[in-house]
Structures are given as structure tokens and as C-alpha cells.
Symmetry: C2
Subunit: 517 residues, 2 copies
């Protein structure tokens, strides 16, 4: 049966002595990694949880993060990777909503984990997976591994839930996307023909590992029994150093990271000789960056992956060949992978003709099981097996998908989705605010930036700094408005009473193409 | 859910106007093809069969053959592709064993189908799918399509059986390999990264379509919504013409076909400009052919696929890149695809170390469900999810699989497996024969040829021609001995009383490398 632990057992059988992970100067072979996972799984089973219960991770990237993504399912539990950029209330919500029973955290999140551990009653165990000193209220990751016998992998797999992955929610609350073992496997299988990985591949995890975008590459290299090289976080100099020192062949980057690499002094002289493929996705890539990339690193293939957490995550790919050929297809998100079926659905619920825009719906073995605890949102997003993506687009006559707008009201900034409702809820909870509309405005580095258009109560006054400080208590830093417009006239409304955000966006985007995939 | 009809529906949605099949000067779009399948499925449902019952095909390659491979599962039934090289008794066995209720046949098999139709009681309906006149005792394929309304695809799929695929049997009887929808899909998914097909690909079916080797390429191009070009049978001149006229990008050939193409006058001047990839497999490729291929058609990628019907059928691939790099890896069968897990099992049942030979066992979502009606053979070949291939080999330290011998006593001649027991049973049933051993001896064109070593009863006499005539009544032409050795001394036996075929093979193979994959 297809399962996350089976992927590791297979890699350990096919490449026993090969390095599985490299992080902070230490490496671990596939055999040793499988052994550590089996012991860690044994330790996790020792806490008396039932099969399928949830275990959370709140940590920066590390080799242990990779271990946990498989060790938790190995033990028979579901993984809940928490967003490292979220504020305490957001992760508190995710932990409570998912019914997380054990929380693993690293040095960067001792404080937040401590708050969660004492605040959430169901959270029974905290395990410190960092490098520094283990807090008194937590157990030590390495001591657990050292003191536990290995256990056989759980029989959970296939269509069983492997994890809950939180994304921003249209209603102002994060939604937990339930993904099965098979879905995660199928997305990776679908992407493999374009990623072109094999056992000799070395994949660099530098995008955040809690985010499914990094799964796209990480699961691929795992299927091939290649090597995972992991950086704790993104830093251009270290990324270039690691390309060279670890002979990285594949990396997944969000466009904002690519821009920072291109802008780095000496980018053109960097040793990119081992690098075969940059996979990019999660937010729109400015055409200028794409051209600079092709010109600066001509030996490196570019592959675009488009998808979302609900699709585990890859739905379409724009191949290296299409990038080399250039032309109009470069503006597309590529073609459906071999596991993905795509429909373009008009407002009447019928399929749109070639070239006509509608909501993009995707189906396949990588479609989510639904949103955890959210039957209404699930019913809206998942209809007869089709995931309605909230993106608007069309297919051209050659089968390429062009994304033209977002149906969901969302800003994509630096690869993160920000649902405007969440930001609007935070802003309007300030006593001085009467009404607010949040939109995305152009930003050279992040694609879009969060912008708030605010109407104050008559006679009230508040500064931008005060508003930001207020919002910071409720939502993650990356969701905070970067700029404000204060106005007195009411927001423009449609006949149905909906705020006309297209009108509000217009002055900011004049003369620019808003690329939204 | 993954299913054969869903593959067609997806291709029709993603590439509605694109050509799906081209055969004998006629083409059919994906939309039209899906419509024909839906009507044909409706007709098949009209005969009162229960879900999962079997429908056989006895025909040369055609666009209708391709249609049936999907229309039969569309209707909710299982497909039984019959071996076009088999003699009447062998196909009679397959039809009876599988409980086939409807038989489709073409012009080339009117006589055999007629015999089967009247001999097998369970066979309720015969449908003529050829180009000539429909026999009176059969229904017309095109009339059925024209007179029936389309039906929605069956909900069968996933782990449900999609078909029964007959292979030679070790015990002298053919074995029906049960394959699920998911298994056929998974094998194709595993091969796709190396086949490098996409929606623009044009795949030539020229290997027999009843054989799963052709599935490897055909299912891949179906997943991509590309184009199937179909030749009724193999003819070098027509293959070269078709490469050029249909702008073929991919073809699967058995090594014997490749040799015939290389030997064809003007092979070096043929228009191969569209051809991207020759996939080869099903029998050992002589090193000389491989080198000639690379030298004669330097722009064409070579990809080897190794597997068997029990693996639906691909287990490992030797990539185009590995072919270009050359060296020792060219002697291997490549590496496991991303869906395949491989073990090398020693005689003690334990895993062999890297570099040590044992029986090759393979596991994955493409493993067979078992042998139809043969629980003992199933228990022997399928153990805890592992398919024991009957091939002996080892994995090198880079994860390449080298096949060194066959555990099953089998001759592979021109891409067909001949179990020696079947031939021995046929020979020994002649009254003059006292003992016989059948082995494979080197053959320039077919890799191996079937050779019989015969001991006659004292005082008996028989000619080679008489023996061949006798065998022809029992077994297919390709299984007949091509040559004989008559001897008087008893066959060499092992301590356990087994005929030592290695001893018998030795004089024929002296100074030659016996490549057996």
C-alpha cells in the first residue's frame, strides 16, 4: 500500500548507504534514517494516543523536520505542520481545531510552544527538537530516540489521512486541509516527469518545510531515494554556498527568493554547475525575473509548478522545455500533470470552451479529503471529487492553463496566501475603524503587498502604527497591511452589496499586468 | 478514482479536438473516441452480463483494439486480450479458464473465433471488429456502435480487476494474470519520467497490442492525452514510412524488431526527425544492436523497460541519459521506477547484499492481484505483496538492476516467453519420444531460439518434421522447437533428480554471453 513510511522503507532498501539528509554539517544514511524514524515512532506510540491522532510541529527547517514528516505517520498518527509565521492566536486555533495531542518545537519557538502547551488542554506532551537546551517542561527528541526500540511501520496508508495542513481561511479562520497518504504520493508522482529527479538527485529544502510547496520537491526526491539537503531558513549567501558545497541538483524556490538570489552580488559568477533544475511556484513570477533567470543561469532548467495545499500541492507544471522555447506559453502555469484532471467552470456551472475563463477546478488522486471540522467549507470547495481552486483561468488550444484572476478574495505576497477577510477582521476590530477593505497592490519583491483602505468612525483618529500594532496581536506579520489609504467616502458596492475590489485595485495597478498565479 | 475509462474522459476533457487514434488512414478525436467508447459500452451492457464478467479480444492491432481496451472496462467488464500467436487449444483454454462471455475478433481470426464460438458453451456473443464482411454468426462492431446510445462509465476502478492477461505457465498451462485499474495506471505513471511523453507525443503501436509490453507506451500516451498511431503488424518499410508520415515521437519495439529495422536497406537514411524515443524491452537486447542503434540514429533517445505481465508491466527503466553515458550500466535493466520497490532474495529467503545475485522480487501499486483460478501458483509468485519474477539478478551500488539468469525455466524468443515445460509436454506426447529437455540457444535475430534435446524409445524413429507437425497441434508456432538434438545417453541430472539444463546449454553458448533480461 502507498504510504509515507513505505516511501522511506523503499528508499532505505534501494539506497541503503546513500545519504538521506544533510543538515548543519551532519548527514544520515537512508538505513540510519529509517532506524531513527522507527525508534522515534516507537517513542510517539508510548504516549497512549489512538491511531490517527494529531501531532504538531512548530519549527524551522531541519533534518528532524524531515524525519518527523515520516516518523509521525510511521507511528500511525497524523502530522500537523504549523505555520512558523503565524502569531500565537492563529497557531492556537490550529492546535485546538486539529486536536493536536503532542507538539514538537525547536529553539526558535520555545516561547510560542510554551504558551500553547499551557493554554491548550488537549496538548499532553511537548518535545524539544532543537539544538539548544531542552526546556524543563518538554522532553528531549534525541533522548526519546536513544531510549526507544524501533517499531514496525503502521498499517495506516492509502486513503487514510496523513496530515492536516493549515491554510488561510476565507471566513477569517484558518482551514485545515486533510491530505491522505495517497494524495501526497500522487502529487509527487505527477510532478516527477517534469522534475526529472533520480537516485543521484540532491534536493535543497530552503522554502519552509511546513508549507506544501516544499513537499513538491521533497516528496519527489524521497520517491527516488536521492538526498535531502536542508537549510534552516533562506539566506542568499548560504544558498549559493550550499549549491556548490553540497552539489545540489534541484531546489524549489518561491519567486521572491529567486529575485533575492538574482539581486545578490556575484549571482552571475556563482557556482551553479551541479544545479539542474529550479522549481518555482506558490506565487506569480514577474516576467522580468523569469528572463533574468534564464539569462543569468543558462545551464539551469526552470520548471514551474502551480497548485495549492488542497491539491497536495501540484496540479500543473510548465516544463523546462517550454521555458527554453519561450513565447506566450511562459505566461501560463503549464499543463496538468498526469494525475490531474482540470475543468474550467463557468458561473452557470458548465464547462467553459477553450480560451474562455472560469473557475479552475482540479480532480485526481491528489485531491484533498476535505477541510477538517469544516463541512460547509468542504462542500463549497470539493464537489463530486473536484477541488474548486478559487483561481480563475482558461485553457488554451494546446492545453496550457492561464491563470487570470482569483475567485477567492486573496492576496499572494511572497508566496504566502493572505485571505483579505482575515486582515479585514483584524483591522475592523480596532474601535476607531468603521469599515475596511483589504486588497493586493503591486510590490517589486513580493509580487503583491497587503494594502488596507480604511474608513474611520466620525470623530475618531488612529495612526498607521497603532493599527499595525493592534493587528499584530491577532494575525501573522506577513498578513499585516504594508500601507493604508484613509478615506471618507463609502466603499464602492456592487448591486448585491459586495465591495467592488476591482474598482479599489484599479488606481494601484494602472499600466501593470496583474499576474495572479 | 483511478480507472481506465477515467483516463479517456480526462484525455477527452483536456484535449477534446486532438487526434486520439490514427489507423489505416482514419483518425478519431478524443471527444469522438470517448463517444464511441460510451456507445460501444452501452452495446456490451445490452447482453445481460454481470459487472466484472470477461470479454475477450482476438485480433491484430487496430484503432478498435485500443477502443476496446477502454470500452470494455467502461461498460464495467474485464478485458481478456488473447494471444494472436497461440494455437486453438491454447486460446480455447484461456477463453474457458477466464469464463469469457463475449468474443471480439477481426478478419485474421474468423476461423479461430468460429471454432471457439462453437466449442465454448459460455461464449454467448461473437462480435466482428474487422474490416471485411461480418460472418453470419457474429454481430457487427460498427453497427452496434451506430445503434446504441452512450452510457456513463462504470464505477468499477481502483483495485477492481480491469483485465486478465494470459502468459505461458510453468506447469504447462497458460496463467491468467489479474490486473487492476490502479495497477495498469501505476505502471504507466512509474514509466512516464523516463518516457518523457506529453500532449504533443505521438506513440506508435506496432508491438502486438494483446501483450502488456505495448501497454507500457500506450497507457503513457493516454495519460498525456497524446496521439496513438497504430499499425496492424510489424513491417520495416511501413514502420519507417509511418515514423515520417505520422511524425511519430515514441515507439515501443522488441529487440528483434529493432534488428530488422537496422538491417533494412536505407535504415541510416530514414527520416527519423520526429522520433524522440525508442522504448525497448521484453527480451534481451544484444549489445551489438544497442551500439548500432546509438550510432545509426544518434538523435533518438533509447529507453529500456524491464518488467513482466505480473507487474503491469514495467518495473525498471534504463534512462536515455544512461544510454548516452554508456559504460557498464548499459548491461543493466536500469533502476526501479518510482512506483517499484525491488528486493533481491536469496535461497534462504533473506535479502542479498549489494552485488550478490538472488531472485528479483518487485512490489508496488502495479503488482498483480494474482493468477486467475490458480491459488497455488498465486501463493508461489505473490508473497506478502512481492511479485517473485522468476528472474535472477543483483543490484549494484548505484541501484542498477543486472539480470543474470532466469529462475523460471523459460526461453525468451523474439520477445515472447516460452515456458520449456509447455514445449516438453508437447514433444513427449509423441509416442516415439522417451524423454526430452527444451533449452534456449543463441539466435542472432530472436535472442534465443527454442531447441529440443530428444531421447527416443529404443527401436522408435521419428523425423524432425513429424515432431514439429505433432507439436503444432498443441502449441503456438513461436513455441515450436527450431532445432533438435537426438541423443541416446540419459539427460544429466542433479542430485535432486532435476535435469541440469545449464549443462545442456553449455556447448551452444560457449564463448557467448547469455543475456537473459
Amino acid at each position: 500500500m502507498v504510504s509515507l513510511p513505505a516511501m522511506i522503507e523503499r528508499a532505505a532498501r534501494l539506497n541503503p548507504a546513500g545519504a538521506a539528509t544533510t543538515y548543519a554539517g551532519r548527514s544520515c544514511s537512508w538505513t540510519d534514517l529509517a532506524g531513527r524514524m522507527a525508534r522515534l515512532a516507537g517513542a510517539l506510540r508510548g504516549f497512549g494516543l489512538c491511531g490517527g491522532e494529531r501531532i504538531g510541529i512548530l519549527a524551522l527547517n531541519s533534518d528532524r523536520y524531515y524525519e518527523l514528516l515520516f516518523a509521525i505517520p510511521w507511528a500511525g498518527f497524523c502530522v500537523v505542520p504549523l505555520n512558523t509565521r503565524w502569531a500565537l492566536p492563529e497557531n492556537n486555533y490550529a492546535v485546538e481545531d486539529s486536536g493536536t495531542r503532542i507538539l514538537l518545537f525547536d529553539d526558535a519557538f520555545v516561547e510560542q510552544a510554551g504558551h500553547l502547551f499551557y493554554a491548550v488542554e488537549e496538548l499532553a506532551v511537548a518535545i524539544f527538537m532543537g539544538e539548544g537546551e531542552c526546556p524543563q517542561w518538554a522532553l528531549s527528541y534525541e533522548e526519546l530516540i536513544a531510549s526507544t526500540d524501533p517499531v514496525a511501520a503502521s498499517t495506516r496508508g492509502g486513503d487514510d489521512m496523513a496530515g492536516i495542513f493549515y491554510t488561510g481561511g476565507t471566513t477569517g479562520f484558518p482551514k485545515g486541509v486533510m491530505q491522505s497518504h495517497r494524495a501526497i504520493w500522487a502529487s509527487a508522482m505527477g510532478a516527477l516527469p517534469d522534475f526529472q529527479m533520480n537516485r543521484d538527485s540532491v534536493y535543497l529544502h530552503v522554502a519552509p518545510m511546513f508549507h506544501m510547496a516544499d513537499f513538491a520537491g521533497g516528496m519527489g526526491v524521497t520517491l527516488c531515494g536521492g538526498r535531502n539537503v536542508i537549510l534552516q531558513s533562506f539566506d542568499p549567501a548560504r544558498v549559493f554556498d550550499t549549491f556548490s558545497s553540497e552539489q545540489v541538483t534541484h531546489v524549489l524556490l518561491v519567486p521572491a527568493m529567486i529575485k533575492l538570489l538574482l539581486d545578490y552580488p556575484g549571482a552571475a559568477d556563482a557556482d551553479m554547475s551541479s544545479l539542474q533544475c529550479i522549481i518555482y511556484g506558490a506565487s506569480p513570477m514577474p516576467a522580468a525575473s523569469l528572463q533574468r533567470c534564464l539569462a543569468t543561469w543558462p545551464t539551469v532548467s526552470l520548471v514551474q509548478a502551480y497548485g495549492q495545499t488542497e491539491l497536495a500541492p501540484v496540479a500543473t507544471t510548465l516544463s523546462a522545455q517550454a521555458h527554453r522555447e519561450g513565447g506566450d506559453k511562459l505566461k501560463s502555469a503549464g499543463r496538468p500533470t498526469a494525475v490531474t484532471d482540470i475543468r474550467i467552470v463557468g458561473e452557470d456551472g458548465r464547462d467553459c470552451a477553450v480560451g474562455c475563463s472560469g473557475e479552475i477546478a482540479a480532480r485526481g488522486p491528489h485531491a484533498m479529503m476535505g477541510y477538517w471540522n469544516k463541512p460547509e467549507e468542504t462542500a463549497a470547495a470539493l464537489r463530486e471529487g473536484w477541488v474548486f481552486t478559487g483561481d480563475a483561468g482558461y485553457l488554451d488550444e494546446d492545453g496550457y492553463l492561464f491563470i487570470v484572476d482569483r475567485v477567492k478574495d486573496m492576496v499572494v505576497t511572497g508566496g504566502e496566501n493572505v485571505f483579505t477577510t482575515e486582515v479585514e477582521n483584524a483591522v475592523i476590530s480596532h474601535e476607531a475603524v468603521r469599515d475596511v477593505a483589504v486588497i493586493g497592490i503591486p510590490h517589486a519583491e513580493w509580487g503583491e503587498a497587503v494594502h488596507a483602505i480604511v474608513i474611520l468612525h466620525p470623530g475618531s483618529a488612529v495612526t498607521e502604527t497603532e493599527l499595525i500594532g493592534h493587528c499584530r496581536e491577532h494575525i501573522a506579520g506577513y498578513k499585516l497591511p504594508r500601507s493604508f489609504t484613509f478615506r471618507e467616502e463609502p466603499l464602492p458596492l456592487s448591486g448585491a452589496g459586495k465591495v467592488l475590489k476591482t474598482e479599489l485595485r484599479k488606481p494601484f495597478w494602472e499600466g501593470m499586468e496583474r499576474r495572479v498565479n
